[in-house]
Structures are given as structure tokens and as C-alpha cells.
């Protein structure tokens, strides 16, 4: 009996790059969230992965309720943005007198709490989303590209561009940059630093939620998926240069490509290890990351 695979791969290298860029774009979106919150508060928010999970879960609920695709995508992003805002107002702001390290631990605790809530609400069975655009994949340079990969890569690039435009072209964005450079100084010239931090948490949640919806048709949406994305997203932000949106994109793509390379050549077992080995090597050589992220700030007291 003659059997057809229905698919012929001509170039493993092209496919590796396509897969790496797809996954890397997700890590970049999560990394953007880390960068935003870090810039506004100096905090590494390890609940960032739960924004991804919550966004995916809300997206699944909306999709199952028959909501159109734009509502599914926006709904996931907005829900996580709201969670981000609540996290800032209800937790980070109240703990403003604590050290940054304490707040980081608080975000880890929050991550566990959010997982527990998700487990109680949605159970342990993974959920999924249908691909945003139906249809067979197409071939480019011997590799196969799915429409979902285009959605993911496009969303990551658009997010970075929008963030860069906001930082450089808008009054609000410049105020956020001022907070990132010197929060006390920004406060002295009349910038509402708390409002900036609140918006940063909300935007960070939105990027996480967007990543959660986008990855839904490829991976599964599960209550415990967050920590994996948080670690890779943190690695993306640190590798690219902590605090830099472009750095998060470059770092995310580098991590995605590293992971895909190891998986493609039979080293899947080492893919997580490989990612963090690359991170360690780069940070030892370039402590501020590939794109020279923000240098360490000396005044970190005022949240």
C-alpha cells in the first residue's frame, strides 16, 4: 500500500528557522512584559507567565462562546491587562516599602496563586484554540509556514514597533522612559510615576495575554503553562538587554532559534538547558545584554 505523508520537507534548516522565529516571537512578547514592568518598577515580575495563561484561557472561553476572532484576541489581551492593573494596585503598590527582591518573591507567590485559581476554575485538562486562519500551510524556500506562525511573528513585530513609537513619539511614552531612567527625577518634574507603573503593568498583562491567545492553536492552554513561558520570556528580556523592547524581540528570537536548533538535531532533551547556557554565556560576556539594556539604577526606592 503506497502511503503519502502529504508533506515533503526540502530544507530542515528553513523549517528550523521558521519554527524558531515562531516560538521566539512568543518569548519576545513575554519578554516585552518583563521589560515594561522592570522599567517602571525595577521588579522582575515572575507572574508574567500567568498573564499568558490567563489570556489563553479567556481566549478559549470567548472562542467557545462563539465570539469572532478580533474579540477573542482582544478579550484575552484586555483580561490580562486588567489582571496586570489589579496586581499593581492590589499587591505591588501596597508593598512599595518592601525591597525589590521581596516584591519579586511576591510575584512568584502570586504566580502560584493564579495557577491555583485557574486549576479550580478550568481544571487540569489542557484546552486549545482553533488556528486563526484556516487552510493548508504554504511553502517558502523548502520550509512549511503555517498561517498561525505569520500571525505570531506579525503580532510580535507590531508590538515592538508600537512600543518603540510610543516611547519615542508620544508624551506619555517619553514620561515612561523618564521613569525608567530616573524615577526620582521623573517624579520631581511632575510625572505621575505610580500612574506610569500602573500602565506598565496593564500593558505588560496585555502583551502576555496576547501571547497566550496566539500560542493557543499551537501549544495547549493549560493552568500550569505559565512558568515555562515566564522563564523563557525572562531569558529573552535579559538576553536582549533588560528594559529594551527591541532587546526583548532580539532575545526572544535568539532563544526560539536556539531551542528549535537543539530540537531539530536530536537534542530536544537539552533545549531548556541550552537556552539558559546561551543566556549565561552572553550575560557573562555582555552583562547588559545583546542590545545593551538599561544600566543598573542606583535609586530604587520610590515605586
Amino acid at each position: 500500500m503506497a502511503l503519502s505523508t502529504g508533506f515533503e520537507a526540502h530544507s530542515a534548516l528553513t523549517q528550523l528557522i521558521i519554527s524558531g522565529l515562531t516560538l521566539g516571537s512568543i518569548y519576545a512578547l513575554v519578554g516585552l512584559g518583563f521589560a515594561l514592568i522592570y522599567n517602571a518598577t525595577d521588579v522582575i515580575n515572575f507572574a508574567q507567565g500567568e498573564f499568558v495563561m490567563m489570556g489563553g484561557m479567556i481566549g478559549v472561553i470567548l472562542a467557545r462562546a462563539g465570539a469572532p476572532l478580533p474579540v477573542v484576541i482582544l478579550g484575552g489581551a484586555v483580561a490580562s491587562a486588567l489582571i496586570g492593573a489589579v496586581v499593581y494596585q492590589g499587591l505591588v503598590l501596597r508593598a512599595r516599602r518592601a525591597t525589590v527582591a521581596t516584591v519579586v518573591i511576591l510575584t512568584l507567590g502570586l504566580s502560584v496563586v493564579l495557577q491555583g485559581i485557574a486549576l479550580q476554575i478550568w481544571g487540569s485538562t489542557p484546552l486549545y484554540l482553533a488556528p486563526f486562519t484556516a487552510g493548508n500551510p504554504f511553502h517558502v524556500l523548502g520550509g512549511t509556514v503555517t498561517y498561525q506562525a505569520i500571525w505570531i511573528l506579525g503580532a510580535a513585530i507590531a508590538s515592538v514597533v508600537l512600543l518603540q513609537v510610543m516611547y519615542r513619539r508620544t508624551q506619555f511614552g517619553r514620561a515612561m522612559v523618564a521613569c525608567a531612567v530616573d524615577r526620582e527625577g521623573a517624579c520631581l518634574v511632575g510625572i505621575d510615576t505610580r500612574r506610569m507603573a500602573l500602565v506598565s503593568f496593564a500593558l505588560s498583562g496585555a502583551f502576555g495575554g496576547l501571547a497566550g491567545v496566539l500560542i493557543g492553536p499551537i501549544a495547549s492552554v493549560s493552568y500550569n503553562e505559565g512558568i515555562g513561558f515566564a522563564l523563557k520570556g525572562f531569558a529573552a528580556a535579559a538576553l536582549g538587554g533588560m528594559g529594551s523592547p527591541a532587546g526583548a524581540l532580539v532575545g526572544g528570537l535568539a532563544i526560539g532559534l536556539t531551542e528549535a536548533s537543539l530540537s531539530s538535531y536530536g537534542w530536544a532533551t537539552w533545549s531548556d538547558t541550552g537556552v539558559f547556557v546561551v543566556l549565561i554565556v552572553v550575560l557573562v560576556a555582555l552583562p547588559t545584554g545583546l542590545l545593551r539594556g538599561r544600566a543598573e539604577r542606583r535609586h530604587t526606592a520610590a515605586l
Binding site: 500500500m1 527582591a101 518573591i105 512549511t144 503553562e225 515555562g228 522563564l231
Partner: protein, 384 residues
Amino acid sequence: MSVRKWTVVGIVSSVMLALVGCGSSSATAGSSTPYKLGVLDGLTGGASVLAASITDGMTLAVNAVNGAGGVNGHPLSLDIVDDQSQPSNDVTLVRKLIDSGANGIIGPNYGSGTIAVSPIVKKAKVPELAYNQTIGITQQGNPYIFRVQTNDTVNTKAALLFMKQKFGATKVAVLYTDDAYGTSGSKALQSEAGSVGVQIVADESMSVTATDATPQWVHALAAHPQAVLLWVEPAVDGPALRAAAQLDVKLPMIGGSGFANPSAIAAVGPAAEGVYGIGLVDPSNPPVGAKQLVALLRQEHGSSFQVSFLEATGWDAVQLFAEGLRRANGDRNKLLGALESIANYNGAAGTYKYTSTNHDGLGLDAIEILHVQNGKLVGFKHGV
């Protein structure tokens, strides 16, 4: 604070998280001293997709045994603890269960967990009924470990034979997760392939936390297989089969027990359609030993409930312990010999044939080939 310090904070905190244990327990009431059974399972984490069904089967079995008067007048009680799907947690938890007076241990879900607790149950002389397929668990020279499942040799042989008989496939690719379940399955496939006249042309591993399986599929398909065998953890079924669907793969596929259960199928969605699975129970035609279990499950979950090997093995583990305790008259020192004397027990998942030298229980005759049709597992063929 420098990036390195944050990294240290992250790592230390992650380790702390991993060490946090969330226990849960359930027990049934009884008038005289209960015979306690300790259960290790992943109520949270990667194995949690399976755990609810397995423990459901156990709870129903305990209720059924106690409802029928218990074991020699003693009720059974269950102490179910959550290992968070982390085999590293099992060592501590099994010690606690044994110290609290468990007559026997059921679980844990991962073969690597069973291997980890093996020296402890051996030293404590407490029998363990494990529902793993990992071949090695009954080959450690530890007489206290019994299998309540088919092993990987049986399952992989069945998968290879079915693909060859049904599709004429003599060249197959294997996708497996890099944990004990996947690697044991992959090794078994490699060693069984020759005997059934099939060649493994690609052998691709995936992380248990994988979110995209496209690279593995591309590598596997480049070897031009005629069929694909999936030996991955349930949490990875989704990414693996969704990548296949998005790459428009049309090859016949068959999954191991990590796939052939309703909760895994539901989690995968439409990408599971048409895929075959190695199971132990045909939901529409369950074996005689599963009749009471099916009736109770339908009473609890509704008349359309589909029984799977998960509820069946959970049920069987409790029933086998009950039978062993009955034969040993409740004497812990005689329980090992009593279990080894259960040579022809018609359970819900098949006929168990334990002896002093065979602790594997189920064989090829227990295999049910299942097929996903309209989102449900349907019995396709009994035995191979």
C-alpha cells in the same frame, strides 16, 4: 540589583516552588480498623490530565468493596497524596504514607517515580501496585513492585503489529517525550521492531514541556516513514498532533496510553481525529470485569460516560489489593505472597496473571486498539 542576582533569586525561588507540596486525601468510613492504602498521583502538573480518572476508579472501588462488607470485615481507606507530577516528590511522600500505616502503595503516575520509591517500599516490605508501562519497574529485582497495566514491550509490539497489518507500514517514525514513559517506549519500539519486520526510520525526542513539535515532525518526515508512533506524555499530545495537523501530515498515526484516553483526546481537539491508540478497554464494549465499574461511573457521570483504561486500572489496583488482603487475612507479612497467588483475576482492564516471577499482570490479550471518531474513542480491534 544585577541580572545575575535576579537569576539567582529566580532559581532559588523556583526550587522552593518545586519543593512545595500540596497534599490531598480522601478516606472512607468504616466500623472496624480500616486497611489503609496509600496513593501517589499527580493531581496537579503534567500527569493531572490522567490522575482524576484514575483516582475516580480507585474511590469507586473502595466504595464498592466497603459497600459489600469490606475485606474480612475491615473497610478499605485511601490516602491520596499529590506528587505534583514530580517524581522527585515521591520519595518523601511514600515515606509519609508508609509511616502512617499504609498496607500497600498505589501509583505513582510516572515510571521514574516508581523507580525512585522502589528501595523504600522494598525496605519497608510494603507492596506497590504501579500503573506505569515503563518496563524497568518490574525488572529491578524488587519483589514488592507489581504492574497494573500492560508494559511497554506489549504496547509497542501491539502498535507495530497493528500498523503493519492494517496499513502495510514497514517503515515507521517515532516521536517520544524524553521522560521515563517516552524513552522506555522508544527503547521498546527499537527492540521489538525487528521481530515484527518493521524498521524505525526516525526516532525524535521531545521535551515534556514542549510547546511546538514542528522541528521533530520535519526531521521525522524527511526519513519518509509510512506511519508514525506517538509515545508522548498527555500534556504533549496537543502540541504534537496540532503541529502534524498544521503541517498537513496524512500518515496513519497511533499513540500509546498517554493518548488513548478521553481526557487526552478532549485536550487535543480536532487534531486527534483519525488517530489510533493503544488502550485496554473498549468504551462501547467493556470486558466483563468492568461491568460494575461502568455502571457506577455512569451512575456518577451520566449514561454517556466513556470508561477508559484510567478508571479501569485505578479500580483494578484497589480490587487487587482487596483480594490480596483477603487472601492474606489482613496480615501485612503475607500480602506479597497473596498478591503473587492472584494468577487469573478478571479485572476491568483485563486478566491479571501474577506469579512469583511475573509481576507484569497483563499481556497482549488485554490490548484494545481504539480509534478517534468524531472526537470520541471507539473500539476498533481487540487484541493484535
